[in-house]
Structure formats: structure tokens, C-alpha cells
Symmetry: C2
Subunit: 471 residues, 2 copies
């Protein structure tokens, strides 16, 4: 094709992959749900190269699929099967351009691996607080494009809240230079908000100015057994209040998940002598040694034990112990694989409604499919639950996954009744782009389409993702 020839001519030789074997890893998503095709894989090293690729593609009317670490869970970073688009990987744009500790900011390229960003901040005695399971391989551009969440949103917010400025290559190849490092700026529409969370459908984020925070000088990690789900909410409110809002994580793990982790993930263990349900993994952080987190929190835990909100609780006495407790949180994710097929939901409801939602949802699902294992865990502190369903004993995996649509419907209809979201932190991608039409008003879908048409009039950016097909 002409555009490939033009790219070969204009870019240094190592920037383009066209061999099927070399392209293969870029064309399948992390969950292996989607196997796409592409004209080529472009791996630019500079913003100017991204701009040149976009400009040539726009002139030829060829679509572009941007990709970061390719760890997404909705298929947003993989091209369609048509093979008519260019896969543009940002992985080689992985420079940290600047760290300004005094200004509490850093400027990074889209291809930086999240963990590398965390480490660079740490080296400057600062915290970059975004933290999630894939942090060793996901990249900042993907975090931005999905408005990533993770385990510290309760205190620090989503990726959107952590971003001060962006550099974006527009669909026509021009560069919008919006790399501002300002805490306040009200000079027109806040364009960066459009590109954050747009899943690559409006332009290519090539760099960002991120907010940094004081590095915590101490952490307190608590593993607790709640009397029941209803008890978790007052505990959350009391801990926020008593700690001066120092609560950074408030994660929920059901008994069934701990048991599967112990069965399938070596190193998993039960922190308590008795069985309980659910467990809470709680973390607080303080920027100063002078704050006695333990003294603030112990009375709250003691009162909760006394009143019967908590059945048991243990405070990690060392960093090693804290790591082992956090290992359980990761093991709970990992245990789903060996446990068989699963149907996953990344939902959010208002924080105060989580217990009621779970109490209503569980019997609905168990009635719809007797024996199904409701495996609901996650970020209770911000209302975001990974409401997953595991293959019931005695049911074939294929028969189970054939029910995906019907079970999604049950879960998401209930989420909608609670004023919730059917994708709290994973985005829509390809997986949920049609389903969303059931839960969003026509007006909202129409406004989204108008924005898409305004910023990507040729419709070349990441086709088939986020926006529903026109009916």
C-alpha cells in the first residue's frame, strides 16, 4: 500500500514492522479475546515521528490504533480483524522528560511504564500514587487513555485527577502542545479532559505533566474481618474521619476468594484462626513520622470489634508482613484463572450503596445460574467492585461462557438501578461499546458522537472502540 511505502521512506528503518511474526504480539489483547490484523506496526521514538505517521495516514485515509502496554481488559488497544489500520505503539517513547520536585510535577512520555514513573518519583523523594496490578507492564499513555484507577483512588483520585497537562498528536498530524504544569488555569475549554479516558479515539497522547505528592514516611496496613458487608461502610467513614483522611486503600476480599487463592496460589494463607466474610485490606499513609497513625486507628478498630462491626483485625507489624497481606489481594485476582472460566464485571455504584447492591445481586445471579460462584472483590472505598462470576462445578466452560451476555445483562441492569457504572476503571473498548447504549441516554451518546466528529472528522482514530456503531 502507498501509505506503508511512504512510511518506509520517511521513517528510520527500525520504526516499522510488517512481518506477521513480528507483528503478532501487538495484535492480540491481554485477555486473548480479540485477534486483530494491521497493515503494519509503527514504533516511533519521537513526537515528530508520531506526527508524521498521523499526517501520512490522514492523507491516505488509513485508520490508526494507538497502543501502550497492551494490558487493557476491553480490547481497546488491538485493531479490528479487517487489517486496514496501522497499529501505532508508543512503547519506544519512554523518556522521563523532567522531574520538578519543588513543583511536585514530572513530565513523562506516553510509553513510560507505570512502575518506572513511580520509581523516578520515589528517587526524587516524591510519590506518584497511581498503582494497579499491571503496573510493571502498563504504560502511562494507556493509563491516561483509560483514566486508570487502581488501589489508591480513594485518596489520590483517578489518572484524570493526577494530570496537569498533555501533549497530543491530533488525527491530522498536528501537535497540540498542552504540557502545562499549572494547578489553576481557566483560559477556555479544558481540552486535556477530552483526551483523558478517550481510549485513543480522539488523538494520540504522546506526553503528560503529572502531579506528584509528598512521599509517605509511614504506612499502616490492616487486614480485618468484617462482621458482614453492611458493617464495612460505617468502618470506612470512621477511618476516614479518625485518620484525617489519611486512608489510601480500602479493599474488599470475600471468603470465597481467599479460599480459592489458598487452593491455587502458592504463598496464600489465612491471616485468622476463624473463617470470616468479607475481609478488608486497609491502608493508611502519612507524610510525616510525627503522625501516630496507629494511635489514631487502634481506638477505631477496638470500638468496631467491641460493637461487633469487626470480627477480627490484625495490623502489619513489619513491611514484610504488609507485603504478605497485599500479596493476598493480588492472589485473589490470580486465583480466578485456575478456578476455571470467569465472566468479569468492572462496576461501580455509589459507595454507600455497595452492600445493598451486593445483597440484591448475589441471589439474582445464583438464581439465574445455580451453582455459580459470585466472586466480588475490589475497591470498596470508591464503590468499584470487580463483580466476577466463576464457572459452576459441573458446568462446561463453553456452556458457561455462552451465558456471558445474559449474565452481563442481569448484573448491569441492577447496576443501572443503583445509579452505577458498567465500567468503572476499564473503559468501554470493544467489549462494552454496544452494551452501553442500553445504559446511557440517547442524548449522551449523541453528544459523544458530536465530540468525536468535531475532533476526528475523518473517523480514523481507533475505529470500533468506545463509541457504539451507528444503528
Amino acid at each position: 500500500m502507498d501509505v506503508i511505502e511512504a512510511l518506509h521512506r520517511e521513517l528510520p528503518p527500525d520504526r516499522l514492522l510488517t512481518e506477521p511474526g513480528a507483528m503478532a504480539p501487538y495484535l492480540v489483547d491481554w485477555r486473548k479475546l480479540y485477534h486483530g490484523q494491521a497493515l503494519c506496526v509503527a514504533r516511533p521514538r519521537e513526537t515528530a515521528e508520531v506526527a508524521r505517521i498521523m499526517s501520512l495516514a490522514a492523507a491516505a485515509g488509513v485508520a490508526i490504533v494507538p497502543q501502550g502496554g497492551n494490558t487493557g481488559l476491553t480490547g481497546a488497544s488491538v485493531p479490528l480483524e479487517t487489517g486496514s489500520s496501522i497499529l501505532l505503539s508508543l512503547e519506544r517513547m519512554d523518556r522521563i522528560r523532567a522531574i520538578d520536585a519543588a513543583n511536585y510535577t514530572m513530565t513523562v512520555e506516553a510509553g513510560c511504564i507505570l512502575q518506572k514513573v513511580q520509581e523516578a518519583a520515589y528517587a526524587a523523594d516524591r510519590l506518584f500514587p497511581l498503582s494497579l496490578g499491571a503496573e510493571g507492564s502498563c504504560r502511562i499513555g494507556g493509563n491516561l487513555s483509560t483514566n486508570a484507577g487502581g488501589i489508591a483512588v480513594l485518596h489520590y483520585g483517578n489518572m484524570r485527577d493526577l494530570t496537569l497537562g498533555l501533549e497530543v498528536v491530533l488525527p491530522d498530524g498536528r501537535v497540540w502542545e498542552g504540557l502545562r504544569a499549572l494547578r489553576k488555569d481557566n483560559t477556555g475549554y479544558d481540552l486535556k479532559q477530552l483526551f483523558i479516558g478517550a481510549e485513543g479515539t480522539l488523538g494520540i497522547i504522546t506526553a503528560a505533566v503529572l502531579k506528584l505528592f509528598p512521599l509517605p514516611r509511614q504506612r499502616l496496613t490492616i487486614f480485618a474481618a468484617a462482621a458482614n458487608m453492611e458493617a464495612a461502610l460505617p468502618l470506612l467513614a470512621r477511618l476516614r474521619q479518625a485518620s484525617g483522611d489519611a486512608l489510601t486503600s480500602f479493599e474488599m476480599i470475600p471468603r470465597v476468594a481467599l479460599e480459592l487463592a489458598m487452593a491455587h496460589v502458592p504463598g496464600s494463607f489465612d491471616p485468622f484462626a476463624q473463617r470470616h466474610d468479607p475481609y478488608l485490606l486497609i491502608e493508611l499513609a502519612a507524610g510525616s513520622e510525627g503522625i501516630d497513625l496507629r494511635a489514631m486507628i487502634e481506638p477505631v478498630l477496638a470500638a468496631a470489634l467491641e460493637e461487633g462491626l469487626l470480627a477480627d483485625a490484625t495490623i502489619a507489624e513489619s513491611e514484610a508482613r504488609a507485603k504478605r497481606l497485599w500479596f493476598l489481594r493480588e492472589a485473589v485476582v490470580e486465583a480466578q484463572g485456575p478456578a476455571g472460566a470467569s465472566i468479569k464485571h468492572d462496576i461501580a455504584v455509589p459507595v454507600a450503596a455497595v452492600a445493598a447492591f451486593l445483597a440484591e445481586a448475589k441471589p439474582v445471579l445464583e438464581a439465574a445460574l445455580p451453582g455459580v460462584i459470585v466472586y466480588a472483590f475490589g475497591h470498596l472505598g470508591d464503590g468499584n467492585i470487580h463483580f466476577n462470576l466463576l464457572q459452576p462445578p459441573g458446568v462446561e466452560a463453553a456452556d458457561f461462557t455462552a451465558l456471558t451476555g445474559a449474565l452481563n445483562r442481569r448484573v448491569h441492569d441492577l447496576v443501572a438501578r443503583y445509579g452505577g457504572s458498567i465500567s468503572a476503571e476499564h473503559g468501554l473498548g470493544r467489549l462494552r461499546r454496544e452494551e452501553i447504549t442500553r445504559y446511557k441516554s440517547e442524548i449522551e451518546i449523541e453528544l459523544m458522537r458530536r465530540i468525536k466528529a468535531a475532533l476526528d472528522p475523518q473517523g480514523l482514530m481507533n475505529p470500533g472502540k468506545l463509541l457504539p456503531a451507528k444503528s
Copy 2:
């Protein structure tokens, strides 16, 4: 006109003002820079009435100027002199629809006065942290439409950061129902981000879901004399670190401002025996009685005094004393009036660059207009300085204000060199909408125009504001 007749026919009788005397207060801005005209003033009580007005106006091709408390500083809430638009006041939509203390959210209508929102949160043992000089008369819709800042942005963020959901009447009269109360939701473009800070140019915000926070159980207020501007930045960083990020305000007051306040504003006083420049008004808040703010902060202040970063410091020993210190901060604003004519700038630079910016800016302005009083004060903690210029002795007010454009240019060109913003928290409105073309790239202006055309294709929303006229 037909549209006025239609409005009279369709709305209850008290909703419309057409008498010039009754309309007059709505047609001039707070600073009395702009005296507009309107076909009528509409004062709807319900979202449905707003929708009806918008629908009739759209059908007739008549423009709409939304207005909240009319306390804006850029003329955004006042119609043009042409008299061809409808002034739509949200003042009667002032219900607090819901407070959910457990969920840390409240749902309020656009016409709620900010102070009423603060008080309602307080009554529910929660904090709504937005706080600014006009809080007794500004309204939430205006705070949203300008992405208001104020004195606690350092810790809690701008209005944008405090908003979870919006209800918006679109230019064609349809209602976008986006009143979500979720901490995480990634299901497409985040539309609310467009309407926040849009100064009423894309639609009418009629209600919002706001974030609440634990009510601080204690505050510590400090008035300090810095050795010089350069000393302020390390002090800011140390206080953030030592307090576990409990710093909520870090305001700067120059000596010249304190002196003018003492001369013109009764009740003003000098907290110290010696003269110093500049002063810092610092506040920390803690959600718990169990945190010893004083014990955390005193060593930092002592070290800063020892090292010569601070010349003096006083901690308020009572709430009454803290109020008197905050009174000085307000007096500094008020003292500008009696001091003569002023040319105001609401600028931001990266926090770490404030001292360097001021050191460079002051002599430039003093050279441009000998005798001019550089009256730069404000939100040092987030880099937002109200860089105002006061009439020099011996220069007529009219001669001084005639220099506004030239002096703006000097200040704002320097701000741009520091990667700053020429409107940190006041917006563009009418005052800065042309000037911004000098500081924003053509690409950015073009993207703003495309968004405007996408959401308000008839161009009826608040014409002549925010967007520059087409050249």
C-alpha cells in the same frame, strides 16, 4: 418579539422581567465594567422551565446568557449591549436536592449560594471545601461555569475536582441527565468536564452532585513573616511534608498591601512589631482531634526561624484570633478600592516559579510606569497570584487606566514565558477573550471552536464570551 410572547404564554407570570428598572441589576457586572441589554430576564424555578425557555429561544434563534450570582470578574454573566439576548438567571433554582453523608456527596441546584451549600454540608457533619471572597453571594452554577478556585485549592482542588455529576440543559432545550454520584466511571467521554469552566457557552448547568469531605476537627492558623519571596517555597514544601499534606491554605500578602489595609480598612492591624515583606497566611486542617498539628508544625517553624527563612511567626491561639488573621486577607482585597484605580491580573505560574516571576515582573512594571504600586497577593500555594497594579501617586485615574492594555501585555507576556496562565481562576469572559489569542496556539483555539460548534451549532449560548471573535 414572538419569543417573549411565547415565554409569557408558557411560563408562570412571575418568571419573566421586562421592565427596565427590574432588569437593571442583572445587566451590569460586579466590577461595573460592562453594561448590557436584554430582551427580558427569565427566572425559572425548575429544570423543566429552563428547558422550555431554551427550546423556545432555540426555535426563535435568540441567544441566552446564563447568570448565577453575577459576581464574576470578567463580564461573562452580563449580556452584550445589542439587547438581542435573553438573560436567564438561575437564582430561583436554589434547592439542595439531597445530602448523602455516608456517600460523602450532595446534590444541589445551580442557583444555590455557595455559603448555603457550605452550611448544609456542615449541618451533615461534612465539609464542602470551596471557599472564596464572594461566597455569600456567588452561586454554584457560576462556580461550576468558571471552575472556581479560592483559598483551599492546594488541598481540595478546583471546582472541577469537587464535582461528580451534572444536570445540563442543552442549547436545543433537551436535558442531559448526568447527575451521577460515582467515584469511578469510565463509560465514554466525560461530558461534564466540558460544561465545567465553559462560562455558559455550551449549555446551562442546572444541578450538580458535589463531593464532600470529613469535617476538620481542628484548624491551625499561622501568620508568618518570610525573610523574602524565595524563602516561601521551601517552607511550603516542608509544611506539606511535615503535616502529612494537611496544608489547606498558603496565602501571600505583601507589606504594601498590609499597609494599605491598615490605612483604609478599619479593623486591620500589624501582627508583628517589626515590618516584614512578604507575609504568609497559612492554614492546616485535620479531620481528627487525635492529630497534634501544632506538634508537627512548630519544629518546622522553629527551624525556619533559625535558618532565617522566616523572620517571625505567630500561631492563632483561638478561633477569634484566627478569624482576625483571615480578616487581614480579606482587607487586602478591600483596600484596593480606596487606594484608587487598579489594573488587575489573575495569573498563575508553576508554584516553584512564583518567586522568580515576581522578581522579574516587579522591575519591569516599575520601569514601564514609574511610581506604580505592584500589589501582588494571593494563593501562593497553588501558584495563583492576583498581580494587581495600583494607580501611582500624581497620575490621574483615567490616564492610568488608559494604560491597561499596555500593562496587561507586559504582565501576561512574562507569564507566558514562565509557562503560566493569564486567567487562573476568573475565566476569560469578555475581558480576556481576545487577549487569549496571543497566548494560546491557533490549534488550541481551533479545537475550542470545534467543540463550541459541536455542542452549540446555532451559536446561541452566551455569545461574545470565552471564545475570541473570528478574525
